[in-house]
């Protein structure tokens, strides 16, 4: 029995590996304790928003810890609009 057929679809697909690859660490750590819809921190947006040509090469190399601490649960909206 394989279950009924359905027409599911992808809602969110990571189509850009890029330099935008992030590892979001939420470990139990006093330095890292948040959960909130607080607008997200700036993270590394300016730094890793590279051109697509850079992105391919950076795919495997540029893994960064973004860090949404586990204590921070909120709609923090990221404000960083600057572009380096």
């Amino acid at each position: 029995m394989l279950g009924r057929k359905r027409k599911g679809r992808k809602l969110l697909v990571a189509t850009l590996g890029v330099a935008a690859v992030s590892y979001v660490g939420c470990g139990d750590d006093d330095r890292n304790p948040t959960v909130a819809n607080l607008v997200g921190p700036p993270l590394d947006s300016g730094a890793d928003a590279k051109d697509a040509s850079d992105a391919k090469d950076a795919r495997d190399a540029d893994v960064k810890d973004v860090g949404f601490p586990r204590d921070v649960v909120a709609n923090l909206v990221a404000p960083d609009l600057g572009v380096e």
Binding site: G8, V66, N75
Partner: protein, 271 residues
Amino acid sequence: MNKPRGELFELELFGDDVERRYRRMRPEVEQMPWGTFDTSGISEKALVIARKQWTLAAFQEHRTAIACTAALRALMECRAPVDLVALAARFPLDELVHVELCSRMAMELGGGTEVRHDPDELILDAPAELSPLLRAGHMIVRFFCVGEALSIPLLRSTWKAARHPLPRTVLGRIVRDEAAHGTFGFAFLDWALPLLSEDDRTLFGAAADRAISAISRQWESIRKNRSADYDASVGDALGWMQTDSYLELAARSMQARVREPLLLRGIPLRA
């Protein structure tokens, strides 16, 4: 080549009758102006930023849905008033809708970006040895009295800053839902306070301190890493506030929306 850490944050819809029932629960989602965002005037660099930020917003909403669900369980376990629990029962669905909205915004701009995570480490649960009431309070103080209370003014201002109709509609929906989330924690405290000892209030204060300190460190990181130049095309795509305005509002809101209401209820704070 090293194997990447964690699991990739991607999401799907079941479809068919399940999706139709879900749509009937929240019909406003399909009425939003999807497919109207013209990215042709936005630089590739700006688009990458926007896609990443909306992907991370979806991830953060996903975490918040888990936090709301954990708090809901604890509320039931401590036999909180039924109407109060019923109010909180709506929150996980609200957050799931926000997950969908932010995901679709990322896809509208070209697709999500890679976010890897450990699904076992998404939120910090309350210490298991606490009583049900204290477990509920430990989480609610952190998730709602700090996180969600602070979210209200920040989201509202972000919504006002959004210029394109699509992110403006998306953020408007989130703002309306979060208004109830932001006041919920203090309603819980108003019920729970007569049941608490001084030690219990100190415990809740320490939980709040932890969340406040974590957010403060994020703001410090924002302050240190912000760029001096404002790129309007990024602002259009993101619908976000500018950094200085955000930080100023955030500090003001932490005092008025978080610290003062907690102190007013006898929850001691150090952060």
